[in-house]
Subunit: 226 residues, 2 copies
């Protein structure tokens, strides 16, 4: 059975983006652009999770959250808040009012999807640990944020780390530049496609003997050899 996720957000671009990704992941999105109507839908439909923008027309996210948490029928529904940069103060209050997590814009849809998954699991009482990824002598430990080759630590920048993580995580499958830009850089990225190539190069340089594991798929993108 598909989880229903209510998204209340006034920016059409972000909304479409989130909606598309939710569908792609098999969720059933309910969307609203207006605060009051968002609250109405939340109370009527009782979705499995709510993604709430902080700044909304007619009724802001904070108020919606307050009402939901006071209502016995909806208090258990997890809420993820979306906040713009600079709304730091409000984000804390969001937590006090029972928001389960928050994201600061700009964020990548991928990241939001991940948090949604985590929050839903947590709400269901299952907590999960970040997984250590291994590939022969190559070990990526997200908890420590380290990459080692045969126990020898590798010094990667954050972008290189994220890129490698993405590649190894989906090893065997080809990732297009668009995919990588989306997953590693996030939706805000509007630049030069070849940026990916540059980072692949830097990654290969640092990977030493594992460099050849990052295969170029001409005309498509890159793939980590399985």
């Amino acid at each position: 059975m598909r989880k229903r996720i209510l998204v209340v957000e006034d920016d059409q671009d972000i909304l479409s983006l989130i909606e598309w990704h939710l569908k792609a992941e098999g969720y059933q999105p309910l969307i609203e652009k207006d605060g009051q109507r968002g609250l109405d839908v939340a109370l009527r439909e009782k979705p499995d999770l709510i993604v709430l923008d902080l700044m909304l027309p007619s009724l802001d996210g904070l108020e919606i959250c307050k009402v939901l948490k006071k209502n016995e029928a909806t208090e258990h529904i997890p809420v993820i808040m979306l906040t713009a940069k600079g709304e730091e103060i409000d984000r804390i209050i969001g937590f006090e009012l029972g928001a389960d997590d928050y994201m600061v814009k700009p964020f990548s849809p991928r990241e939001l999807l991940l948090r949604i998954k985590v929050v839903i699991r947590r709400a269901a009482g299952i907590s999960e640990k970040p997984v250590i990824i291994r590939y022969d002598g190559l070990v990526i430990d997200p908890e420590r944020h380290t990459v080692t080759i045969d126990e020898v630590p590798l010094e990667l920048t954050i972008t290189e780390y994220n890129l490698l993580f993405e590649l190894v995580k989906t090893k065997g499958r080809v990732l297009t530049r668009d995919h990588l830009l989306d997953r590693v850089w996030g939706y805000r990225f509007e630049g030069y496609h070849r940026t990916v190539d540059t980072h692949i190069r830097r990654l290969r340089q640092k990977l030493g003997s594992f460099a050849e594991n990052i295969e170029t798929v001409r005309g498509i993108g890159y793939r980590f050899k399985e």
Copy 2:
């Protein structure tokens, strides 16, 4: 069977916060905003633990605690006191009042949850050994609240102590600034997140040869070298 925990606290924000976290941890929260009514509930329901704010309308936390400890049916129920900064803490710890532990606001919900767990276990007769953390010549003794390097005591402020404790306790893992703010500064910190950096610097200065054990993870946060 779920432990029932009574929370008597007049600040709605704090109350919601605690309530939410208790539920998330699988406890069954009973909540009251008024001192007198809090006492009534305590006497009638006999919860497994009581979290009491010191300053309360109609009847303050101290009085409630006194009454409970005089009553044979409730004297065994552990009490955790919540106090604002600057309030007389000494009187609370006084064994005549019988509070089992206390927390100074602001605190992080995580920290409260930890203490609740400890106090409940202790009440059940399972005593927790105070864990002394060692790392080569660096010794942190939480019970004495002291830090020594090769037997030589280190003069740390409370914030520095907490920060170091948090870092060493989770050594090997990266802690983001947000994470540290949450765990070290508590739930209502609304400030500049680079405050963390400043305290890291002060800590490094005092740590002498151990300074290099606090690693900077660019783009993420800090990590204590394992």
